[in-house]
């Protein structure tokens, strides 16, 4: 299984790394969107699988990042785009910290789901009142930034440069999340996710770990939001809506919640379905619904869990007793 994952990751890396030279512009655009959705989905799974928190309003933090970036690019405040990303990520972290402090005091499980959902819809409503944020229409035709780095410059008006900027930033985010979740912080979070009471009895402050996970998860979601803006060049309240909050959940369930890489597989499958059915309005929803139904019924551990079962069966004839580090 480890080897399979390694091969899969190399293949994925190559596909994304060569996309601008191997596939058409439409697919490259989708690949760019998929990268931001991957970060978004991983950040949600960070809460779900590693801290045991099911947030139904995660898109709100994505929105904080996206609107921050949109405002700075649209109204041209002249801030270096890297700093805009840093600011957007920071604001995402601060807002999710505040939400965590309020919401996690008492709620977990279904109350948490409803509260986060309500808060994210509240953000949608607030955006609707703000002319500055474009009300229900959002902010369209956002200019792409040009970044000076002294020795070189990245002009995002150039599609290839923009793509590789996104690619490098996404790699960075994924690597950061992998390291964080596989180190002692991840172990501590995992302990809280598996059995909060047991975790408390070894001296882990469950509440603090959850607030931390929520904050970091929100920051990464905002980071994804920041990256989307120069690529899509438009933000709308749809990015904050519950439907967008549901995307990482679908991706995670589809790919496999127990696996770090699961949400990536899920995002790819969802993106492919959306692309393949782009000319048939409504068909993608039917297909996604159908696929989810099949996965939930036949492979509750998602695609990754299904693969692991096959690998274990074919290699030893009985369940492997060795833990997968993936």
């Amino acid at each position: 299984m480890k080897r399979l994952i390694a091969y899969g990751l190399v293949l994925l890396f190559l596909l994304f790394a060569t996309a601008p030279y191997t596939v058409n512009a439409g697919l490259v655009f989708i690949a760019g969107i998929a990268m931001t959705e991957i970060i978004f989905a991983l950040s949600w799974n960070m809460l779900f699988s590693y801290a045991g928190l099911a947030s139904f309003g995660h898109a709100a933090f994505f929105g904080v990042g996206a609107y921050t970036a949109a405002v700075f690019l649209k109204y041209d405040y002249g801030l270096h785009f890297l700093l805009v990303i840093a600011l957007g990520t920071f604001l995402g972290g601060v807002s999710s910290f505040v939400v965590a402090i309020i919401v996690l005091r008492r709620a977990s499980g279904i109350q948490l789901a409803i509260l986060t959902l309500a808060l994210s819809q509240l953000v949608v409503t607030l955006i609707g009142y703000s002319a500055f944020l474009g009300r229900d229409e959002g902010i369209p035709s956002i200019p792409r930034p040009v970044m000076e780095f002294g020795l070189f410059r990245i002009d995002m008006n150039d599609q290839v440069q923009a793509y590789y900027f996104l690619f490098v930033m996404s790699l960075l985010a994924v690597a950061l999340m992998w390291l964080l979740l596989h180190g002692y912080v991840g172990r501590r979070m995992k302990a809280v996710a598996i059995d909060p009471e047991r975790a408390a009895f070894v001296g882990i402050d469950v509440w603090r770990v959850r607030v931390f996970a929520f904050t970091i998860g929100g920051a990464f979601a905002a980071f994804a939001g920041c990256l989307l803006v120069p690529w899509a060049q438009i933000v709308t309240p749809d990015l904050v809506m519950w439907l967008h909050s549901a995307q990482p959940m679908l991706a995670t369930l589809l790919g496999g919640a127990g696996f770090f890489w699961g949400p990536i597989i899920g995002v790819l499958v969802l993106s492919m379905v959306n692309y393949a059915t782009r000319t048939f309005a409504g068909l993608s929803e039917v297909l996604v619904g159908g696929i989810l139904l099949i996965v939930v019924l036949l492979a509750p551990q998602g695609i990754m869990g299904f693969l692991r079962r096959i690998v274990e069966r074919s290699s030893t004839g009985k369940p492997a007793m060795v833990e997968e580090q993936a």
Binding site: A191, A200, G203
Partner: protein, 253 residues
């Protein structure tokens, strides 16, 4: 005195389960709570560990009032705990189970559990985990086994390792041999006896198995209908006629 409880009363609704229990445990002592089913052992135990708040009464740890202290603060103070049905982290491997506890302790002590970006446990943590696992008979080949594949007895042993990794001053053991096979039971008894011999840790336990109690306990308390029937050294308690009648008589006729 490491643990002291005064006037513990507890009711579930109209049903009064504990009627003003007093007890004290000395440093290094092994204290057992026994009694027939429904006597309130587990309730008293949960009040002492802080899981279940008492209606009145005070619990002190080395003189400090811990009655309303949260679980994790108690754990950091020196409470270690195992459960009747072993609670481990089934989705991670044996090594990680113990590493979580070691790292939690280091963090609580204000020391660094390692570098955040390092996916391997720091050498200091690894060393300690290895030492504990080896001491309690987990062969190196099994360290990467996911804990959910362990047998019931091994789970109990692993939970024990987790509890010890926090270096508790007071180990709270709720039926440490419940549901074990006779051989596992002997092994666990031997393990507890060794821990006692090595010193430095006080133990409060509930247990059904009288042989184990009489082998391990320095003092014991007999509960019946939520009242302390007798407290004292095992031999003395065994001779107590009231105790013989209501409890021990059932087993040691």
């Amino acid at each position: 005195m490491i643990l002291e409880a005064n006037g513990i009363e507890k009711s579930y609704g109209a049903l009064k389960v504990l009627h003003g229990i007093d007890l004290s445990v000395d440093e290094g002592e092994t204290f057992a709570i026994i009694g027939p089913n429904g006597a309130g052992k587990t309730t008293l135990f949960k009040v002492l560990t802080g899981e279940s708040p008492a209606n009145s009464g005070v619990v002190r740890f080395r003189g400090q009032d811990v009655t309303k202290m949260s679980d994790f603060r108690r754990a950091r103070l020196g409470f270690g705990r195992t459960f009747q049905v072993a609670r481990i982290f089934p989705e991670v491997d044996v090594f990680t189970n113990v590493a979580i506890a070691v790292e939690a302790r280091l963090s609580a002590e204000g020391r660094s559990p390692g570098r955040w970006w390092d996916w391997r446990a720091s050498s200091q943590v690894a060393l300690e985990v290895e030492e504990i696992l080896e001491r309690f008979g987990f062969a190196r080949a099994r360290w990467r086994t996911e804990a959910r594949y362990l047998s019931h007895g091994d789970r109990k042993r692993l939970e024990f390792c987790i509890a010890l990794a926090t270096r508790p001053a007071l180990l709270m053991l709720d039926e440490p041999t419940a549901g074990m096979s006779p051989s596992d039971r002997r092994e666990m008894t031997g393990l507890l006896a060794r821990l006692k011999r090595d010193g430095g840790v006080s133990i409060v336990m509930t247990e059904h198995d009288m042989d184990i109690i009489f082998e391990l306990a320095d003092r014991l308390m007999v509960l019946n209908y939520g009242e302390a029937l007798a407290t004292g050294e095992p031999a003395a308690v065994r001779r107590d006629p009231v105790v013989r009648e209501v409890y021990l008589g059932q087993h040691h006729a």
